[in-house]
């Protein structure tokens, strides 16, 4: 479970995140929805302790990110905005490198990598160097290395960016599977279809603030719109 409370972060005079609070529960997919520049990536970067918040608190499975950043990182599996691979290493070597950094021994790393390679359908990619991988193949590898330690909480920043329909579809299936395993899945996106198709809980964020929150049905009702996209537009426009 991920709990953010009153998170704030400024860069100079720009208030990128201005009091964001929400909870992402286990066994649910939570969508952080907002236009570009709304503060989604900065919020997530604070969550996975790459940045320190100016104010506010973050708890993952009850652990405080400010006090125990390494413990929190161990509880998270993160697909960040930048997802560069080591192009002179094979997909498997990329995955096993992160497994070792997560503290897994060689045998456990291999077993976990095998499992993910199987689940994500990358058997024919595993032994290839990642140079020349397609966008979809790169994302699969990046997800595998992010989840190699079997984290309870999964954070994905714009996971379907640049993916084709097929790849998007199989990624969604994979995320539903994570949810089915009782994991807490938090993803950010600017795409309405994404949250509509996937999320149990939606947090709409604009200008660094949470402007609305709820299930897709609740949001449609609150905006008195039958269409989620219209609801989204309404909330964004209403934000100060």
């Amino acid at each position: 479970m991920i709990e953010l409370r009153e998170l704030r972060k400024s860069f100079g005079a720009v208030r990128a995140v201005d009091g964001v609070s929400f909870v992402a529960r286990d066994g649910e997919i939570t969508g952080l929805l907002g236009p570009n520049g709304a503060g989604k990536t900065t919020t997530l970067r604070m969550l996975y302790t790459l940045m320190r918040p100016d104010a506010g608190s973050i708890h993952v499975d009850g652990r405080d990110a400010a006090e125990e950043p390494l413990a929190v990182r161990r509880l998270l599996g993160v697909l960040p905005d930048s997802r560069g691979l080591y192009k002179r290493l094979t997909a498997r070597e990329n995955i096993e490198y992160f497994a070792a950094l997560q503290g897994l021994d060689a045998a456990a790393a291999r077993a976990r990598a095998d499992g993910l390679i199987d689940t994500l359908g990358m058997a024919d990619l595993a032994a290839r160097r990642t140079e020349g991988f397609s966008q979809g193949e790169r994302v699969k590898t990046a997800i595998a290395r992010a989840l190699v330690h079997g984290p309870r909480n999964v954070v994905l920043d714009e996971p379907t960016n640049g993916l084709d329909v097929m790849a998007t579809r199989s990624l969604r299936e994979f995320l539903r599977r994570l949810k089915g395993e009782g994991r807490c899945v938090l993803l950010s996106t600017h795409l309405m279809q994404e949250v509509a198709a996937l999320c149990d809980h939606i947090v709409i964020i604009a200008h660094g603030r949470v402007v609305a929150e709820g299930t897709p049905d609740e949001l449609r009702a609150a905006a008195s719109e039958s269409n989620l996209e219209e609801a989204f537009m309404r909330f964004i426009a209403a934000a100060p």
């Binding site: 970067r45 997802r83 997560q102 990046a142």
Partner: protein
């Protein structure tokens, strides 16, 4: 496995698959210096030797007035050129290097036992002609001395009377010391192999990873950043050390092909040099590698990092130039200055001069401390929030 070791192994594996790194660290870095050296030495030495043996072309004016002198000079290697109208102008206009004019009264003075005059016409500001001038002057002086001695003997006197003072030169430069003068640039070339050996890994450790967008995912792992830095430093240092070791071996090899005997030189490029130079330079490897990583951490792109590090390579030239322009006497404190200390010590090793254990220990200790200090500084840069953010 310790995360620093994990990072080290991965960086090494990746670099060994990079043709650019292999070319730089294991081929270009170590071999460029020695080969350049061999070529330059061969050219320089070849020219010197050629100069000493080849005939000396000289325009001689009024040669007919001193047939005996000219014949004697020709035996010593003079190549007589036909006279020209205005030798002073010809020298000034650099059409000829040097002319010899026999005075009008030469014959009469010679017969009368008076000093007979010959005149050298040259331009002393033209340095490349100076050795020719000196050679001709030497020939003339030896001719003069020989005939002076003959005249004294003809009068029943010992030639020793006319030589009240003898200047005996004894050059205390040992053959090794003279060789080391020619090798003044060798320490810099060794330091350069250290630089080149680690440069790609140092750039890749931050600027490269950031440009390829892999730094952020790496830093999200539950590993303290100083462990990651340590692993990257070790990988950079091992490539740098490989480059240095190969460079030293290449110099040993090249030492055998140096035309040193022809110049009466010998250089102590033996196993002792290798055995002392390697541990002496080891702390410098660490210092240079961590400094390269620090500099590269400030660059936003690989290209920018390359520019900075290219400039940084010129820093070790400073002690080299100072040492060759101002041949200062080595003081103990100089060994405590990183770069300067190592260069001094290498010069002494090349000359087969004794090197005190205190000087060596001082150099190793201070350079190691400097490396630790730069590491601490780099650690702070690594801890900063901005390091990971690529966009």
């Amino acid at each position: 496995m310790n995360p620093a070791l994990t990072v080290f192994v991965k960086e090494c594996r990746e670099s060994l698959r990079d043709r650019r790194v292999l070319l730089n660290s294991l081929l270009l870095g170590p071999l460029l210096g020695p080969l350049l050296f061999l070529v330059i030495m061969r050219l320089v030495v070849g020219r010197e030797l050629e100069k000493a043996e080849r005939p000396l072309p000289v325009v001689v004016i009024n040669a007919e007035r001193a047939p005996e002198l000219i014949a004697s000079l020709r035996q010593m290697g003079l190549e007589q050129k036909p006279p020209i109208a205005d030798p002073e102008l010809a020298v000034r206009e650099q059409r000829i290097d040097l002319a010899l004019r026999v005075s009008a009264d030469y014959g009469a003075d010679w017969r009368a036992g008076q000093p007979a005059q010959v005149e050298l016409i040259y331009d002393s500001s033209r340095r490349e002609a100076n050795s020719d001038v000196e050679r001709l002057r030497g020939m003339l002086e030896s001719y003069g001395r020989r005939h002076g001695a003959l005249r004294l003997l003809a009068r029943g006197l010992s030639p020793a009377i006319a030589t009240p003072l003898v200047i005996a030169s004894s050059d205390t430069a040992t053959p090794q010391a003279r060789g080391a003068l020619l090798f003044a640039m060798l320490p810099y070339m060794l330091v350069l192999t250290i630089f080149i050996g680690g440069i790609w890994l140092a750039i890749d450790s931050t600027a490269g990873e950031r440009e390829r967008q892999s730094l952020e995912p790496l830093l999200i792992n539950p590993v303290p950043r100083d462990r990651i830095l340590l692993g990257k430093l070790l990988a950079t240092a091992i490539f740098s050390l490989a480059s240095l070791t190969l460079g030293l071996l290449a110099f040993l090899l090249v030492g055998h092909f140096m035309p040193t005997e022809q110049l009466g030189l010998s250089l102590a490029l033996g196993p002792r040099f290798f055995a002392v130079a390697l541990p002496l330079l080891l702390p410098l490897v660490l210092l240079i590698c961590i400094a390269q990583i620090l500099i590269a951490a400030f660059a936003r792109t690989v290209r920018e990092a390359q520019t900075y590090l290219g400039l940084a390579q010129l820093v070790p030239l400073i002690p080299s130039i100072v040492l060759s322009v101002l041949p200062v006497k080595a003081q103990l404190w100089m060994y405590a200055v990183p770069l300067l200390g190592q260069q001094l010590a290498i010069m002494r090793l090349l000359r087969a001069e004794p090197l005190s254990a205190i000087a060596l220990a001082l150099s190793v200790a201070v350079t190691t401390l400097a490396a630790v200090a730069v590491f601490a500084l780099t650690r702070r840069v690594y801890a900063s929030e901005r390091l990971a953010i690529s966009t």
